[in-house]
Symmetry: C2
Subunit: 241 residues, 2 copies
DNA sequence: CCCAGTTTTCGCCTTACAATCGAAAACGTG
DNA sequence: CACGTTTTCGATTGTAAGGCGAAAACTGGG
């Protein structure tokens, strides 16, 4: 049998949290599981996970979904052999969807340490989801999926710090993202906090659909100095988009 | 139903090639397919793909295998709904396994352009495999899986050029890999070619098990200047290995 | 035996990007 | 209007990668 599961992550209260629901029936009754379920006959895995996610949250709040990994140990679930395609889902920090009674957000750090206890191999899946998010935040513009449409550099810094698990310099974040062209100033400013201070400029991420997947400074193809034109070498470096 | 498939890549004759076998029966008879088959009841996907690969090549030649992606369009195969977990496999360039009569290596570039015609969605899978290899060659030490145990920088340069599809500077490759600590001189030298020339030093890759997955120059955590010790901030930056 | 040709290797320079630091700008409050 | 606060910007440093050319180490031929 084939099922799909999603580790849906969101930064709330300064912590990276994951959406879990508490199983009411055996096996693993009482333990907390990822949303998901059986793959339908006429849907692909991505469609399926979105459909099943809709039972737990408003999927319009889920800004990004991507395939994570297949888990297929024959004994990963008791009773019946089940292969699962796991997904990573991201929800912007401003969203606060209404949840069913059995469903709640839990800090990822806690869940990975057994509080609350997770069902089956779902703890491993959460860990993989967190690792993937951390890696991709560094070299893609995936931040747009965690941030509101408009944000200040400071608030973005807090999001990155919570997701990455280490301090992030606002100065550096600002310029790194700006140089990559993913950080666009909107022109507006946010009102300062109760202690005053200079009002922060508002930014948005460039082009949601745009993915930064190019390596930045790692063995890139040689820049044709000024296109000497003539002989073309080997295969075309950028054949497909 | 669930199946597994592997895009097994190797650099031969200066080109990146993929292992394909020609289907004898419908559907898609005559077209070329990736090795693989149905997932067994008591094996995980990785075990399964290695088992089925053994029907086409000596799996001892396959130096690296990793999960690629799940393809699950309901109509990706006629007749019966089949979900596939696709894998990327890499074979060192020195290996030349004996192949069954229906099986042969084909340049990836050709296969992606329809020569030979590929079965089902296998062309797409080959493309994803090639893209993954290209990306990972740049920021991991995955090269060890394409190269022989010992090699010269020049031969490695040719491998990288074939796999990446663009020229690679031997000078730069040498120093980039050396700085990352993945290129270890063995002390030996290779005999010069027929035209003479300085004998090339032999190298090997550091620690096969070692994966370079850390980002190199992208939003890394702040280096604790000299461990000021005292307050610990937020979550632990490196909780798990 | 020396010299031209070849191939590899190494050092130096430039460019690109990230991290750090500090100053300046823009706001509140007393 | 001084003061603390917060954000933003510029300058500097450090590290990594690309490019170029000289030096090293070999072969083969006069």
């Amino acid at each position: 049998m084939h099922e799909v599961l999603a580790a849906v992550l969101q930064v709330r209260e300064g912590q990276l949290q994951v959406l879990l629901w508490q199983r009411a029936i055996e096996p693993d009754a009482g333990r907390w599981a990822l949303p998901g379920g059986r793959l339908g006959d006429s849907e692909d895995v991505q469609t399926s996970v979105l459909r099943q996610l809709a039972e737990k949250v408003d999927v319009r709040d889920v800004a990004h979904v991507e395939q994570l990994e297949v888990f297929s140990a024959p004994d990963r679930m008791p009773h019946r052999r089940t292969v699962v395609t796991a997904f990573l889902g991201l929800v912007p920090c401003v969203a606060d969807p209404v949840l069913p009674d059995d469903t709640a957000w839990h800090p990822v750090t806690d869940a990975l340490q057994g509080s609350p206890p997770t069902a089956f191999d779902h703890g491993l899946i959460v860990r993989r989801a967190r690792d993937r998010l951390r890696a991709k935040l560094s070299y893609t513009n995936l931040g747009f999926a965690l941030a509101p449409p408009e944000f200040t550099v400071s608030s973005l810094r807090e999001l990155y710090a919570a997701a990455l698990g280490h301090r992030v310099s606002a100065t550096n974040l600002q310029r790194v993202l700006a140089r990559r062209g993913v950080l666009i100033p909107t022109g507006g400013t946010a009102p300062p906090g109760p202690a005053g201070g200079r009002p922060a400029a508002l930014y948005r991420f460039a082009e949601r659909g745009m993915r930064i997947t190019d390596p930045f400074a790692v063995l890139r193809p040689p820049e044709p100095p000024h296109a000497p034109e003539g002989v073309v070498h080997l295969a075309d470096p950028r054949a497909a988009p």
